[in-house]
């Protein structure tokens, strides 16, 4: 019976979409799409890894994990898994610097049973010792092993943020350090929950085909949390590096991971944001072969799998083509991600590593110097005009964008609906102004993960050219450009290069 009802409902999916957050109770975001057979939840706790106490880095994540992956006072964890199973539904928490968000989607046939479990997870966690030991052991395994030994390209990106935000609450990864996670106790988790999971610190997002009165019910339920004093954390003010600062992580590998970047004074909703979104899309659109960096390094030279840039955080970007949601931050980096560069012959790994780094750097220098010609602005504008439609592909994503709007203080119509009007308004001049205010090539944090770190350091300091060879015949224009790239200056001093063995990476806080 259930299946028949579901089939009928799905057949109707995708009709009228009427988003409204007006009229919803305070601290609530309602995205009504009455024809959707799904109901999406996006409950935002205004606390994240920036609220981790010193020495207890990882606590916000462990707290959220215990709630999403542990027992409640009503049900054992096993019983929760068992009840969710026939619905093919679940809920999970994501924790970033500023936000903890509990998300889930369920078919409307199963709303009541599902919501009871979701609600209990947030409001009446059991804080079971066994569950705590399980989720802590999983996090510790990630910190001790998987993070450092599985995906160097993701590790180099996390290290870039760690370098750039030293001395601020943004420095440590949400997963914490090996030693800090080891020290976290169940009491720490209970204390974190009591301190941050407050009715006046929670925003409730509900979207899709929910019944009348449901949003009000969810809000009233969440109001069952106690009120309290909300901890405020000052927005980080990361310092611009003075010149070039390099971290080289020593690891046994045949390929190098490379990340580089610097802070930018830009968040969603700022006057320059649309212009910079366009510039970044042109320069390094995520996972897109149109991106300029991709064209220069991969398409023409075949050096690696892809080369991208970012103006907003995009954790675990190797896993998806879709933009992340619920990673809103008050501070951002401009980030260049060069995917692993492999050696192709004896002893050419470091030459190729530095060649790719120089190629990206030189393109950034050209961009800041010359800006974007009007026809390129038009090209990028048309692309984003069409492409941005895909950002809110599901009700769950559209709702999450609304929650992020609340973070950034963006009122109606919200970010997604304002992209096209923003693109219409910008001009080549406003684009140039935004480049001038946000980008520069002289000050840079740089991370390499590679083998034989001392040799790479020596090569960097020598300033010697790092040419590459090709398997294919290349046109003379490209070879001429290569000569410039190979000797593009990276002005770095010996005292600004740090070498770290892989076993020390994220082992403990400083």
């Amino acid at each position: 019976m259930k299946t028949i009802a579901l089939v009928a409902a799905l057949g109707l999916a995708g009709g009228v979409v009427s988003a409204c957050s007006g009229g919803a109770p305070k601290g609530t975001i309602a995205l009504s799409e009455p024809n959707s057979p799904f109901i999406a939840f996006d409950v935002w706790i205004k606390a994240g890894s920036q609220n981790d106490p010193v020495g207890k880095e990882g606590l916000a994540l462990l707290t959220a994990s215990l709630l999403s992956d542990g027992a409640t006072q009503q049900d054992s964890y096993q019983s929760i898994v068992e009840k969710l199973y026939p619905m093919a539904a679940g809920y999970g928490a994501s924790v970033d610097k500023e936000m903890t968000v509990f998300r889930g989607v369920v078919h409307k046939d199963n709303l009541d049973g599902y919501y009871t479990l979701f609600h209990n997870a947030l409001l009446s966690p059991a804080f079971s010792e066994d569950d705590f030991n399980r989720v802590k052991a999983q996090l510790l395994n990630y910190d001790e092993r998987a993070r450092r030994f599985n995906r160097d390209e993701e590790l180099s990106r996390e290290l870039l943020y760690w370098m750039a935000y030293q001395g601020t609450p943004y420095a440590h990864p949400a997963e914490g350090y090996v030693e800090s996670v080891r020290s976290i106790t169940l009491q720490d988790v209970k204390d974190f929950y009591a301190k941050h999971y407050l009715r006046n610190n929670v925003v409730v997002g509900v979207g899709g085909g929910y019944p009348d009165g449901f949003v009000e019910r969810v809000r009233a339920d969440l109001d069952g949390l106690p009120t309290g004093t909300v901890e405020t954390v000052a927005a980080p003010e990361p310092a611009m590096p003075r010149g070039v600062k390099v971290l080289i992580v020593e690891k046994q590998t045949d390929a190098s991971a490379i990340s580089m970047g610097f802070p930018i004074p830009l968040v969603r909703g700022d006057p320059d944001f649309t212009e910079m979104a366009l510039v970044n899309s042109w320069f390094g659109e995520h996972r897109s072969s149109f991106s300029h960096l991709y064209q220069v390094i991969r398409e023409r030279r075949g050096m690696n799998y892809g080369d991208y840039s970012y103006i907003e955080a995009f954790p675990r970007s190797y896993t998806t083509q879709e933009r992340p949601v619920n990673y809103a931050r008050r501070s951002n980096l401009f980030e260049i991600w060069i995917r692993p560069i492999s050696g192709t012959g004896p002893d050419d790994l470091h030459d190729r590593t530095l060649f790719a780094t120089r190629a990206a750097w030189r393109e950034l220098a050209k961009l800041t110097d010359e800006g974007l010609p009007p026809d390129e602005v038009e090209r990028a504008r048309l692309y984003l005009h069409n492409f941005s439609v895909t950002y809110g592909s599901t009700v769950s994503r559209r709702l999450a964008y609304k929650v992020d709007d609340a973070f950034y203080g963006l009122g109606e119509p919200g970010y997604l609906a304002s992209i096209r009007p923003g693109l219409e308004k910008l001009t080549p001049e406003s684009v140039k102004g935004a480049i001038d205010r946000n980008l520069q090539p002289d000050n840079m944090w740089v991370v390499f993960i590679t083998s034989n770190a001392e040799a790479l350091k020596a090569k960097l300091l020598s300033g010697e050219a790092t040419p590459i060879r090709y398997a294919a015949q290349q046109p003379p224009e490209l070879l001429a450009e290569d000569e410039e790239i190979a000797s593009f200056p990276i002005p770095v001093k010996a005292e600004d290069i740090t070498i770290m063995p892989i076993a020390e990476v994220f082992e403990k806080g400083t």
Binding site: V7, D130, R134, N150, S342, N386, S393
Partner: protein, 451 residues
């Protein structure tokens, strides 16, 4: 050739209507698959499905080539199905700059390759449907790339190889494949062997032959899902694809000889890892109608999934495993189903193995609880239906039946077969598949001097 006018909206068309080549067939929701669709069978062998689904104003355009790493039969040529996927973005005489055209459309597009298929997709506004079809049909028929472009792209493949090459799971996967398969091409992974990947710049001529043998209409199924006029779209399919010359040459894939004794192997990992134990049993090909094949997929969930007794005991209650995963999905050819366990304490590996083997024996000897079976069927159905929110996801959800059978009708077959599966069927499936003689057990451990 003549399209059927309009759709049959109601009626007794339960399930599949077999279509003769050259006919369009209207289908209405008569099984689990909830959308109206139309099937076209062109004279040249191309099959296309037009499906109305998803949000207004958007279409997802999916071309499934039923060629993957499985088809790489020649020595030294592993990884070419995937390499060729990259070359498909390198343009034609008509559209030398594929990227430039799709950029203007703002299209979300990419492709991916696995054992059994290569899938190309593009999501764009409905207003661009004809442009998309022109572009896509053109590259499938008239791909044209230079040797220089080919050599350059080989470098990108090496970079892609390196991204995951050092993960413990990649290393384990390689060992499982080379131990379990002696003849069949499932012996190598989709990305290919490192030596073959490094030799790719020299393979231009071979890559051309790959295109001519496999990129043919009889070997491709097109899915267009989204908001569109079906008659208009059907006319476009004929306009753009009727001229595609058939000529598919099936590769001579060696059948895997029957395994008659248990195989074991251990592989050392130079980074840091907890031990991972994997059990891999030889299993039959995927089928939507064979009760035993469907029962095997259910078996993986009931015997080893998060609601199984062994999962509860070892992962949740005793926490002796970091995780337990059951990969019981079947493939186009007979393959393996797998159980993977990451062991929390290296000293506990032997004891954990005894527990897992006891659970395997239990699956062979006892009947699954009725409630767990009912819940599993529900989870599988809802799991399928919950994926169908967007046109792109509708298209993606159909890749597996297309790859395995050449059509989407197998979706309804599969869930009909699933409905009828009993506890006895699952026990019988366990007896046939969880047999020590077909077992390959591989363990990954950290090397003594891990870095």
């Amino acid at each position: 050739m003549r399209p059927l006018q309009g759709l049959v909206l109601l009626g007794a068309l339960a399930g599949i209507v077999a279509a003769a080549p050259g006919h369009a067939t209207a289908q209405e929701p008569a099984g689990i698959f909830p959308f109206e669709y139309r099937r076209l069978d062109l004279d040249n062998g191309l099959r296309a499905y037009l499906i109305r689904a998803g949000a207004p104003g958007q279409i997802a355009y999916l071309s499934v080539v039923r060629t993957g790493a499985r088809d790489e039969v020649e020595p030294g040529r592993t990884g070419y199905a995937h390499f060729f996927e990259h070359m498909m973005f390198r343009g034609t005489k008509k559209y030398p700059n594929y990227d430039g055209v799709t950029e203007k459309l703002g299209a979300f597009r990419n492709a991916n390759t696995s054992n059994d298929r290569t899938a190309y997709y593009l999501v764009a506004g409905t207003e661009y449907l004809e442009q998309v079809m022109d572009l896509e049909s053109d590259r499938f028929m008239n791909l044209d790339y230079s040797e220089e472009g080919f050599r350059t792209e080989a470098g990108a493949i090496l970079g892609e190889y390196q991204q995951g090459a050092y993960s413990s799971y990649s290393i384990l996967d390689r060992k499982v494949r080379e131990t379990a398969f002696l003849k069949h091409t499932y012996r190598h992974s989709t990305i290919g062997l490192e030596a073959d990947v490094r030799a790719m710049p020299e393979g231009y001529e071979y890559s051309r032959s790959f295109f001519h043998r496999f990129y043919r209409p009889e070997n491709v199924v097109l899915v267009i899902a989204g908001d569109m006029d079906l008659d208009h779209t059907e006319a476009l399919v004929h306009q753009y694809y009727d001229g595609w010359e058939p000529g598919y040459q099936a590769p001579a894939i060696q059948a895997e000889p029957e395994q008659t004794a248990k195989r074991t192997a251990t592989v050392e990992y130079s980074g840091r890892t907890l031990p991972i134990v994997t059990y891999n049993w030889k299993a039959p090909a995927w089928s939507g109608t064979d009760k035993n094949a469907v029962a095997i997929e259910v078996l993986g969930r009931v015997a080893f999934g998060p609601n199984s007794d062994v999962y509860r005991k070892l992962v949740i209650q005793e926490r002796r495993l970091q995780g337990l995963g059951a990969g019981f999905g079947l493939d186009r050819d007979p393959s393996v189903v797998s159980l993977n366990a990451m062991v929390s304490d290296p000293a506990d590996v032997d004891a954990v193995e005894s527990e897992l083997e006891a659970a395997v024996a239990l699956a062979r000897d006892s009947l699954v609880d009725a409630k767990l079976l009912a819940n599993t069927k529900s989870a599988m159905k809802y799991g399928f239906l919950m994926r169908l929110e967007t046109a792109q996801n509708v298209a993606f959800a159909l890749i597996q039946p297309i790859v395995n059978t050449g059509g989407i009708e197998a979706v309804n077959d599969y869930y009909r077969t699933l409905d009828a599966i009993t506890a006895e069927d699952i026990r019988d499936a366990a007896r046939t598949v969880l047999d020590d003689r077909g077992l390959t057990k591989v363990t990954l451990v950290q090397a003594e001097r891990g870095s």
